[in-house]
């Protein structure tokens, strides 16, 4: 029992310190940081997430609260929550992360995102 409590306490403290970062999201954030030379900033990530780009935004499809399901603005397809706190499959597959950054940045900001932007967004997402 005692060891269980210690384990639970340890897990809770880990969550409160690192949010819901996965080993992969940490690795990718470090990689992007080393390319851009800038430290990832979760708040900048959230700002980027919600910024309007000629009527398009990350939140157009995913919503501002990523613990909720989103909906593709055109096809109305339901998108599972991106927040790792409610969807443990998120931020666990590098190919998925890179694929969606590429596709969705081109849709949203009409270009690929910079390593710094990707680091910020990942940092913010991994705290959700």
């Amino acid at each position: 029992m005692k060891s269980n409590r210690i384990l639970v306490a340890l897990l809770i403290s880990l969550v409160s310190v690192n949010g819901y970062a996965t080993p992969l999201s940490d690795t990718l954030i470090k990689r992007y940081e080393s390319i851009s030379g800038q430290e990832a900033n979760a708040q900048s990530g959230e700002t980027f997430w919600n910024q309007d780009n000629n009527g398009r935004s990350c939140n157009s499809c995913h919503g501002s609260d990523v613990t909720q399901t989103g909906k593709h603005v055109k096809t109305k397809r339901v998108i599972k929550p991106l927040a790792p706190s409610v969807n443990t499959e998120r931020l666990t597959d590098e190919n998925e992360i890179e694929k969606w950054f590429k596709r969705n940045c081109k849709w949203t900001v009409k270009r690929e995102c910079t390593p710094s932007e990707k680091a910020d967004v990942l940092k913010w997402l991994s705290s959700q």
Partner: protein, 206 residues
Amino acid sequence: MKTIVNNVRWVVGTSLLTGALGVAAVGIASADEGKWRLFGGDDDEHGEYEEHRSSKSMPIDNSPERQLYVDECAACHMAYPADFLPERSWRKMMSGLDNHFGENAELDAQTQTAVTDYLVAHSGENSSNRRAKKFLRSVNSKQTPLRITELSYFKRKHDEVPDRLVTGNPDVGSFSQCQACHGDKAEQGYFNDDTVDIPNHGRWDD
């Protein structure tokens, strides 16, 4: 803690889903009998019934090739049945993913090839599905259509459906939203009238 909550959710969700599927299976079986008795004599409906039967016995494709198609394409839209378009349409579609009906849907080269291979292997020409054959016959051999909704067989099957129930319906939006009215079985290629339930309207009897 989250893990425990998630596990409980999973168990509850699975039980509910199993129950729902059971109820749905019973409902479909009885609807099937009713349709046969009511419409069995009609030629076209007989064809529909044959399709119905074949789709019932049609095994669900659980192959990794289909799973890849579903993962890559159905994240954004319904997994349209590959046999509703000819091979040349899929090849054209898959070579223009950077502008996919106005969206960027790029894939890495390896995935793009694998998805194309799946679509071509299951395209209209390679299908024994009756409805797929009707779609294929309705395609002008000189054209390479990209939208299933523009094929004349599609138009013929939907010509009595008023726009207000589709484009004017906030829960449908367009004729490309097959699943909105045909339900989740549409992704398995099941499009018979008995599963049609138009949001904010109800069942469709033509």
